[in-house]
Symmetry: C2
Subunit: 401 residues, 2 copies
């Protein structure tokens, strides 16, 4: 069951949350979030494939190997990336302070940062933020945490599901941040999904991997894969329900995790900087899954396609052009392109003025699909993208993220 | 010697040119260009690698095999791409009419189109345009032809060199169009280079290939490789000078061809839609030429880097991020990033506030370099790019190209 996401509604048994302001953001908004597991929680993580992976990503990757976590400490404003050895030491020091205040082992605390690359993370502000965050921990703090991890996000991103496992009520809830520098590959800009089911780390890793494939790894705002992408899935077991690998419970849990990730991913695209439309680019008929993905990404990332979407222009020529340079192998005379349900091109030719008019009207909606059949095979892939508006450019040429 | 490019100055012996208006463009601007060789000219061509190659590209590719051409017929407004079999027949019919009026073999006429994809090319307008273009042919018509091949170009793009071969004066002159849908791979949006030297087609092909590698194949405006990219190099021999493969004359001619192509490529980037700055992204220290190229292209095409350039923001973090996801293999702690001559980052850390201020000032200029040393090997590559301004978005979301 999809849970309504309201300010204080969502609880996940076994977890406490907080989101506080310690002055990292200039405008007094919340900037440090803490997620605390009352008992060691099973944990799985996925991280950026960017070679300039930030120091906190390196620490988190290492600590995830243990498979159990107690706390996740997140800060905004500074990505603590491009900060070298001092940045690494700073990430560890923050975790150490949180561990001491929480009375837990430091190796069970994972750091995450998001914000500007190359900007050192202020120790004095973080020390204050960590103390505040520990003091504010509450079972009702998930929304506060979601607010605190925002950078340029227009709204907090939260999604939740309630499922039943073995007659017990289990919650799966997630929070994420998005906005810019977004084409996650293998993971995402910050995303945390929590459940009170009991679950082994190995199964959690599988659920996270499968869930990300169809959600965060299939969205693109601007084609820039960030240095700090991190997705974590934590299971407290506090609901009393447990899911073992291969069981029906695991499938139920996996479906809920996938839905929560999918909803968060959609919220991130909807909140792409300057974006006003969410568009699913769905490619089928490709020779391989990789070619389907390459074709979908080429269309989703084409500036000419994204600006055409912004202008509600059913410009299938720009879509065909992007398919043509995507690297996918196909014959143009076998392709079909549909925009918002209207067939606008077949066999590399226009469907006509009437179809164009209908597509133009349908493109005025806030959400639609671009469907492409390459006619070359049986493989499919889809990517969720957004339009490119002047505000993206205005924003990113004046804001130094 | 670099020739000044003025309205009626440039002649290339053995070639006649014209640029006329036949109503393809709504506003009465010139829209059809013709280049005519008085005797069969040796010819080499390079074409788009886009799978949606336009019908005229398919005809041109086939006719270039003969190695000799008499005429190049270019139209704007319709790319005659995404027009199927009727588009192919239309391209051939246009060439046939031009051939008949010029009294030459149809197989020696090459068609080129640029403009909107999926828009049929009007036969009645083209028939009128071809008649006018044949009637207007003149040795002084190169500038008119350059005007006629413009689409959204803010200015015509012409470059010329005068060289001496065997005591004879040889001219190498080129014209090109650019503006949007530009990341040529193997060739370019339309570009024609003409010389009055005598030269075998095989040597011309080598000169064109070498010249394009460092010019048109190393620029990017928006990362979109067009369906119609075409570059032609024609040699009339009318200067009386000849260049044989392997000779000093061939090297002199090759250098002039390279310079003309380089100048045209730079003009195209400078005239990128909405662009105000030309930036060379130069990568060295890569493990291979391919990785150097991938790294340079990732930086050159990153929306976050391009918007930062627009805002004169020395945001090396966005550059590092793009390098990190480019696919190139390197260690961040060995990298150095310089912007406009200022070292802004070393070993994945900031160089400091003073360097940032100096870089910011230098970025106010219209032309500068982003230099990256990956510290991983001995290979280098560079790409010429431009900034991304709000006008690119405004333009492409309202203009249906």
């Amino acid at each position: 069951m999809k849970l309504p996401v309201r300010r204080r509604d969502i609880r996940v048994a076994g977890f406490l949350f907080s989101g506080v302001a310690c002055g990292l953001k200039d405008d007094g908004r919340k900037d440090v979030a803490l997620i605390f597991a009352e008992e060691p929680a099973a944990a799985a993580g996925a991280f950026t494939t960017n070679r300039f992976a930030a120091p906190p990503v390196r620490v988190a990757r290492e600590r995830l190997r243990g498979g159990r976590l107690r706390a996740v400490l997140v800060n905004t404003k500074s990505a603590n990336a491009g900060t070298g050895a001092p940045g690494l030491a700073r990430a560890r020091a923050c975790c150490a302070l949180a561990a001491r205040l929480l009375g837990i082992a430091e190796r069970r605390v994972v750091p995450c940062s998001t914000g500007k690359i190359g900007l050192p993370l202020s120790w004095s502000k973080m020390a204050r933020g960590i103390r505040l965050a520990v003091a504010e921990l509450s079972p009702r703090g998930l929304w506060d945490a979601a607010e605190a991890i925002r950078t340029t996000d227009a709204f907090p991103k939260v999604a939740a599901r309630e499922i039943s496992i073995g007659g017990r009520c289990v919650t799966v809830a997630g929070l994420a941040k998005g906005a810019g520098m977004i084409e996650p590959r293998m993971a995402t800009t910050l995303c945390y999904v929590l459940t009170d089911a009991a679950c082994e780390p190995a199964l959690l890793r599988a659920l996270l991997r499968d869930g990300l494939a169809g959600s965060f790894n299939a969205i693109s705002v601007d084609g820039d894969t960030s240095t700090n992408d991190t997705a974590l899935l934590l299971a407290s077991g506090a609901s009393g329900a447990s899911a073992a690998a291969g069981s029906r419970a695991a499938r139920t849990l996996g479906a809920a995790v996938g839905e929560v990730l999918g909803e968060l991913a959609r919220l991130i695209v909807a909140d792409g900087e300057g974006a006003s439309k969410v568009v699913r680019v769905a490619v089928r008929g490709a020779r391989s899954r990789a070619e389907a993905d390459a074709a979908a990404r080429a269309v989703a990332n084409s500036l000419l396609v994204k600006t055409a979407i912004h202008g509600a222009d059913p410009n299938w020529g720009r879509i065909a052009c992007a398919l043509g340079y995507s690297g996918a192998v196909f014959r143009p005379d076998k392709t079909v392109i549909r925009i918002a349900g209207v067939e606008v091109s077949r066999a590399a030719q226009a469907a006509g003025k009437a179809a164009e008019r209908r597509a133009r009207r349908a493109m005025l909606g806030r959400e639609f699909a671009i469907e492409i059949d390459l006619g070359a095979g049986a493989h499919a892939a889809s990517v969720l993208t957004c339009d490119l508006g002047v505000d993206y450019v205005r924003f990113n040429s004046t804001y130094s993220s």
